[in-house]
Amino acid sequence: MNVLVKGAGVAGLTVAYELCLRGAEVTILEPFRDERSAASWYAGGMLAPWCERESAEQPIIDLGSKAADWWEATLPGTVTRNGTLVIASPRDVKELDRFGGRTSGFVHIGEEAISLLEPDLGGAFRKGLFFEGEAHLEPRRVLKDLRTMLTAWNTRFETEMSAPEISDFEWVLDCTGIASSDTDLRGVRGEMLLLRSKDISLSRPIRLIHPRFPLYIVPRPDNIFMVGATMIESHASGPIKARSVMELLNAAYSVHAAFGEAEIIETGAGIRPAYPDNLPRVVKTGNRISINGLYRHGFLLAPAMARQAADMILPERNVRHETHRQWL
């Protein structure tokens, strides 16, 4: 079976993978060529459905709770399962109760437990919520690994294709995010920073209660920390705004003063595709399937969406491929 996947962000690559597993011949069309044009490039890579439930509906847990298992099975060694630590500055400590009231799967912890989990934050924060079952990954590494694996399975990556060539495919999957023509979609701009500091060590994503957007610091290899992410109702791309840099840095600095001496190694802005309910959709129209609206939950929800879409085309996973994967 010949399938064309348009878009090589996390939605496109995960569904391409699911389809390959089921024996399809997959071609990926990535008209933008540049991986930085995908919203996934700027993702935090948190697999944190229980935390996200604070500002999302129940499907976030139903669809996202198995995401860490999917990524670990697909790309062994890429998932870190150290949970999430939610903290608040003393003036916002009451907001922790609100956060806890809207979520589940956590324990309340005090200063001592915070110090044990994250020695570098010891003494600075006296109250927190620990979501033990959550995980995180490094989005750019994972995207790269998926590409490598798909290439090894003879998936073709094309940057241009004519309309007749496209119509030759039995199925076409649209995973183009905000570039799609779906008029129900809107863009929600997210801005982020990458900081490097040898003076701070964190083992898990730290979420700081913030009045305007969920703010997090995700540790990455090589002393790099991803600080994100703003939520602005806009589909304007373009460089990060000064105020956003100030707010992100301020928050990072309030988590640990050593961030004041960190190097800013990258700033970025991506446009998240979102439907009005901020939940993703898999929509089949004839031999076309669209996977879109992953919003701020690309890595968390893409596996479930990929499976739903692949089930519409080839319901059974191919076991030979499963084993084939082992010696890649």
């Binding site: 863009g187 701009r189 602005i232 806009s234 589909h235 009005p276 309910d277 901020n278 939940l279």
Partner: protein
């Protein structure tokens, strides 16, 4: 009926549009509240209007009256500029004027507020000033040309409800003919009912609904509380007294005590 700068409005509840978990929930909450006026913040959320089209076209589809606000402005100049942008974008001369004096407490800078209100009124704007419960400031705002006042009842987002009933009563009593909308600080429906009972004309709120566990149900609850308080005020509330008063006549009983 409530009259705001000559426009008749039947709902006495106004809602802000920030902080909802999704536009879908925001829209459901607005519908449940039956509000006719929504406030939108220009400065922070739009980041270039054409680009914010997705969100705004959703709001526009509701067909409600938009009261743009100048949230986040700290100076007269900023607030005036934002009001002008809002007038162009939303095609309305209404503006909820906020000039913040303190970043942390979000208290209005009443001096800059009066100045900005004067400039905007002269420029043809219909200004809805977000102010404190101070009588003298209220007087100055009216002198500047405002026909509506929006006193706070507690700091923005604090959910503390009416902090100073005496001040609210006296500002209400001092300007009997002026439309007054309590803005900021309401946390629960009973707070809204309480200020409506005092005779305020309407309430404006955002966080109390947006951050509720079920924003749609909470929007309904506030709508009912506002109605209840409004009805109660016009029905004339029984004033408290020191002694018990029997609620059934004692005449007709076999024995008087």
């Amino acid at each position: 009926m409530l009259k705001l700068y000559g426009v008749e409005i039947s709902s006495r509840l106004m809602l802000g549009t920030a902080q909802y978990s999704s536009p879908a929930i925001l829209i459901d909450a607005i519908k449940a509240s039956q509000t006719e006026i929504i406030t939108v913040s220009l400065r922070r959320e739009m980041s270039g209007v054409k680009s914010g089209d997705g969100f705004w076209s959703l709001l526009r589809s509701l067909g409600l009256r938009v009261l743009p606000n100048t949230a986040g402005c700290h100076t007269v100049k900023e607030a005036v500029l934002t009001a002008h942008m809002a007038r162009d974008i939303f095609s309305t001369d209404w503006v909820k004027l906020e000039v913040i004096g303190n970043h942390d407490t979000l208290q209005p800078d009443v001096f800059a507020l009066v100045e900005a209100a004067r400039i905007l009124t002269e420029d043809g704007f219909k200004v809805f000033p977000y102010t404190t419960d101070d009588l003298v400031v209220a007087e100055r705002l009216l002198e500047a040309g405002c026909e509506v006042l929006m006193p706070w009842c507690a700091p923005i987002g604090s959910a503390m409800g009416p902090m100073n009933l005496h001040a609210l009563r006296s500002i209400r009593g001092h300007f009997p003919g002026i439309v007054m909308i309590v803005d900021a600080g309401l946390g629960r429906p009973s707070h809204a009912a309480a200020v409506m009972e005092l005779g305020f004309d309407a309430v404006l709120l955002n966080t109390a609904v947006a951050k509720a566990g079920d924003p749609v149900a909470m929007a309904q609850a506030f709508a009912k509380a506002v109605d209840a308080g409004y009805l109660a005020h016009h029905a004339v509330v029984l004033e408290p007294r020191d002694m018990a008063v029997p609620s059934t006549p004692v005449i007709g009983r076999a024995v008087f005590t």
